[in-house]
């Protein structure tokens, strides 16, 4: 719920920079190691926007896999089933380079009075 609130707050802050428009969709990036359950976030987000002027705001979630870089051969790879062994040289000396994202990626805004007012983004 705290995360959903932070996303909504960020949207409100950002909207201050875009007068004459309204937000249609906010995109977030969540790493699989970020301890965020997509469904729970979506549920909380929809609950908190209900009684606001942003009730039609859509939430886009992009899930980012855990990626490691091999310290021996430099190969970057996606870690599956917690197997962090380098698929190229089999070294276990690999370090995590991404996968714990909890980021705001983008905001889609529409100008008031345009033809698609009230329509949800189809992306």
């Amino acid at each position: 719920m705290g995360i959903a609130n932070s996303v909504l707050e960020a949207v409100r802050t950002e909207m201050g920079l875009h007068p004459g428009t309204y937000p249609c969709k906010v995109g977030v990036r969540i790493g699989e190691m970020a301890a965020i359950d997509q469904d729970a976030l979506r549920f909380c987000f929809e609950a908190i926007i209900q009684e606001t002027n942003l009730a039609s705001l859509e939430l886009g979630i992009e899930v980012c896999p855990r990626r490691h870089r091999c310290q021996v051969c430099g190969r970057e790879f996606v870690v599956r089933n917690y197997d962090s062994r380098c698929p190229q040289c089999t070294s276990l000396e690999t370090t995590c380079i991404s996968g714990d994202e909890l980021e705001l990626a983008y905001l889609e805004v529409e100008e008031y009075g345009s033809s698609t007012v009230g329509a949800k983004s189809t992306e």
Partner: protein, 226 residues
């Protein structure tokens, strides 16, 4: 339709305060550790045994978080170190603002070591940076050895795993080797200490880890200062 790139952390406000706290901790030479576990794994017991073992002249303080009650602070106050309870009133984790607020009337220059005992929860506390130097996750042997795989984030982000309640190993079907293996699948090379806060078994290893961390922190600060 315009797409505006945002490209910032969702918890950027929390992270901003946490970064300020981290700078203050560094400036005043305070090692801050954030203890996280599910409810009842033994964070408070570990702190009791730790405070009991530390010399009275040590400059140590504890912030302890719970949704309700002052029970934990009351348990920890008898060791005569400064202790403050943070009651979140419903929030399932501590955030950096709560830490900032509760530290306001403590002088950081009087401290060398600050423990933050988070709200019992293996999920949300892992998302909120509190400005700590390290997170420590506590798992007890009554919880099941697959917890690191079910809740990978906190094991991934913690420097140390404290496996507690090992006195119960004869009575519960807990495979300690599998637990360690699972933790290291999520966090290769993770340090692990096995303790019983009830019998005191293994606490020496925890105190060694803590002492080593304090020495390393001090050395780092001296290096930065010179």
């Amino acid at each position: 339709m315009d797409r505006v790139p945002l490209e910032r952390k969702v918890l950027s406000e929390n992270d901003r305060i946490a970064a300020e706290l981290r700078t203050q901790f560094q400036e005043h030479g305070v090692l801050c550790l954030n203890l996280i576990s599910s409810p009842g794994s033994g964070k408070t017991s570990l702190l009791e045994r730790t405070l009991e073992a530390l010399p009275a002249r040590d400059r140590v303080a504890v912030l302890t978080g719970d949704i309700q009650t002052e029970n934990d602070a009351n348990r920890l106050k008898r060791f005569h170190f400064p202790v403050k309870q943070i009651t979140t009133g419903g929030t399932c984790h501590l955030d950096a603002r709560m830490i900032e607020r509760h530290l306001a009337d403590w002088r950081l220059e009087d401290l060398d070591l600050l423990f933050i005992e988070n709200v019992g929860n293996l999920v949300c506390p892992s998302s909120y940076d509190l400005g700590e130097a390290a997170k420590v996750v506590v798992l007890s042997v009554t919880e099941g050895e697959d917890k690191p795989l079910k809740y990978p984030s906190i094991f991934f982000k913690s420097d140390l795993l404290v496996l507690n309640k090992i006195d119960l190993l004869p009575y519960v079907p807990f495979d300690i080797a599998a637990a360690a293996e699972n933790a290291r699948k999520v966090h290769p090379g993770m340090e692990i200490v096995k303790v019983s806060c009830l019998t005191g078994n293994g606490l020496h290893e925890w105190m060694m880890w803590l002492g080593e961390r304090r020495r390393a922190h001090k050395a780092l600060l001296q290096k930065t200062a010179s």
